[in-house]
């Protein structure tokens, strides 16, 4: 409980400190002052319309990716599993590329086409993987799932390149930019739109810790101890994919959060999923909020894509973890 409190404190601190910095200097007193009407108060608008939505988006996306990574790693009993492993991110990228290249111009409840298409892509990818893995036998084979994910990712990359070939240069440029990830959501609509999905996946995650602990002993061993393995696997897959799809639709694919955060957390709290899952969510939120601060301020007024920062920080850190373990 104490450790969770520690992770919580770090996450809250990150969320509270992050809105204080940015490419512009603002006066907090003025931002919260009631004397200037909101429509005229630039400091307030920078705080509430530019920074807060970004930090909220960063926290939600970081938490979702990290917890999804932890669940995938436990479910597949593979330390290299991450939200990308099952082709979920690849499917999302394909959806976004199609929306950008073919100018899909529909919106649903005020959500524009690109997030919708990327979410549809991620769920489509999951459906294919799931059908493949359950087609021939009862229950899921984690090996089949992993390999199907690898193959599907390659297939989606090929399709992304194929779609890009038809794009003109401006569209290609925009889609490459999308692939780098961005948290500048410019308002709360994209966040509000994914809240129901995230709530659903959070409810799913909440049922998982004990079953995941037992599953780590192997499917049969877990079944003997009263775990409904198929049901657990379904809930885990569906929740983790919903969380990943929702994140990707907000921010684009953001590398490494889903893989390094669970490893880092397990180093600190051990293997108990009642601790690993919430701690991963909190640490993921803190990490992505921090990376976004770096993205916003390092070269201001220019901004670095946040996905570049997470990969830049994440890859060396992951190598360090590997070396330490071996």
């Amino acid at each position: 409980m104490l450790t969770i409190g520690g992770f919580g404190a770090v996450a809250v601190a990150a969320c509270l400190l992050a809105p204080l910095v940015g490419s512009t200097r603002i006066s907090l007193v003025h931002a919260f002052s009631r004397t200037t009407p909101f429509a005229d108060n630039v400091d307030a608008q920078i705080f509430f319309l530019a920074r807060m939505p970004r930090i909220l988006a960063a926290a939600l996306v970081g938490a979702s990716l990290a917890i999804a990574g932890a669940v995938f790693q436990a479910l597949l009993r593979n330390p290299l599993a991450s939200p990308d492993t099952l082709g979920v991110s690849g499917g999302a990228a394909l959806g976004a590329m199609i929306a950008i290249t073919f100018h899909l111009d529909v919106s649903l409840f005020g959500v524009p086409a690109i997030p919708i298409a990327s979410f549809a892509g991620s769920i489509g990818a999951l459906a294919i993987v799931y059908l493949l893995a359950t087609a021939r036998r009862r229950g899921l084979s984690s090996m089949t799932l992993l390999l199907a994910g690898v193959a599907l990712n390659a297939f989606f990359s090929a399709l992304v390149l194929f779609v890009q070939y038809f794009a003109d240069f401006a569209e290609t440029f925009r889609s490459v930019r999308w692939l780098m990830g961005s948290l500048d959501v410019a308002g709360y609509t994209p966040i509000v739109a994914v809240i129901p999905l995230l709530a659903l996946s959070a409810a799913g995650f909440a049922t998982l810790p004990r079953a995941l602990d037992l599953l780590s002993l192997g499917g049969d061993a877990a079944a003997v101890r009263g775990v409904d393995v198929r049901r657990t696997e379904r809930i885990a897959l569906l929740s983790a994919s919903l969380a990943t799809g929702a994140s990707v639709s907000i921010a684009g694919p953001i590398a490494f959060v889903g893989i390094i955060v669970p490893h880092l957390v397990r180093l600190i709290v051990g293997a108990d999923h009642r601790l690993v899952l919430p701690a991963s969510a909190l640490a993921g939120a803190a990490l992505l909020v921090g990376c976004d601060v770096a993205a916003r301020t390092l070269f201001s007024p220019l901004e670095i894509p946040v996905g570049v920062i997470t990969a830049f920080v994440g890859a060396p850190f992951f190598l360090y973890l590997l070396m330490r373990r071996s």
Partner: protein, 290 residues
């Protein structure tokens, strides 16, 4: 959006250092009679100075003037069809400065080329004059160049003394949201056009062709006029500009000064730059054109 955006983006990426318009071969060779142009802006310049009939092929992206519809197409900046170009037996090829491979092949085939670099507004009249020299149509080129310069001076005079509002010029963004905005930066012909039209771009200080500003940066720089460009056959809709309502503190939004301008004249730094500049001026300073 259309393929025309290509020029802005590719060229923004490839703004090469130096960049003079020059001819590879000696200038006293006979004036070229069979020209291939891979640069839409230069194609339009050639028609403007009366050398249009000498064109035998243009790029895949040329649409203006309508006469180009009859001409052969030989690729573009990234994918010039070298074989077809050579097969057309041109005696002058207009290339982008970044097309080094094509330049090498042309040199091997002893074909002259004219190198076009995408630069600032002054580059339009200097390119026109350089073309006049190479083509032996100096007088025609001079007339067009001085005509453009005179029109630009007239526009500048018309808005002289008026307050210069802060302008945000948006080159592209995601539809229906304010994400992935590409704005014009403090360098290039669009930047110069806004300055002549009596505006002051909010990213004047960023000496790049374009900027990807965050929401925060746009809020902080408080544009008084927002102009969004749409190219070619872009379909405009009444609610295109609605997403700006999300940032009500922007003076441009509050004072209903968010505009959409449509046309290829904003992509090609060709002979119509003065007309495009006038459209900017009429948008920024409608009071000066009553």
């Amino acid at each position: 959006m259309t393929k025309r955006l290509l020029h802005l983006f590719v060229l923004a990426l490839l703004v090469a250092a130096g960049g003079r318009s020059s001819s590879a071969a000696d200038a006293d060779a006979a004036p070229p009679r069979r020209i291939v142009s891979l640069v839409p802006a230069v194609t339009q310049m050639l028609y403007a100075i009366g050398a249009g009939p000498r064109l035998v092929a243009v790029s895949n992206y040329d649409r203006e003037p309508p006469e180009v519809a009859q001409l052969a197409r030989v690729g573009g900046l990234l994918d010039p069809d070298t074989e077809r170009i050579l097969a057309l037996r041109p005696d002058l090829v207009i290339v982008y400065q970044a097309q080094h491979e094509l330049e090498q092949r042309l040199t091997q085939a002893h074909i002259r080329y004219f190198e076009y670099a995408h630069k600032d507004l002054a580059n339009v009249s200097s390119t026109l004059r350089a073309l006049g020299d190479v083509l032996g149509t100096r007088a025609g080129a001079e007339r067009v160049a001085t005509g453009i310069e005179a029109k630009l001076r007239a526009i500048a005079a018309r808005v002289a003394g008026l307050p210069r509002p802060r302008v945000l010029l948006v080159i592209s963004r995601d539809p229906q949201s304010l994400r992935n905005i590409y704005a014009d930066g403090g360098y290039g012909f669009l930047h110069d056009m806004i300055a002549i039209a009596g505006g002051r771009e909010i990213f004047d200080d960023v000496k790049r062709e374009n900027v990807q500003p965050s929401t925060e940066l746009i809020l902080a720089r408080r544009p008084e006029v927002i102009i969004e460009l749409r190219y070619g056959g872009a379909v405009t809709r009444p609610d295109d500009l609605a997403p700006w309502q999300a940032l009500p503190s922007l003076p441009a939004v509050r004072n209903h000064r968010v505009y959409e301008l449509v046309g290829d004249v904003f992509v090609d730094a060709g002979p119509h730059v003065a007309e495009a500049t006038e459209q900017f001026a009429r948008t920024i300073h409608p009071e000066a054109f009553k």
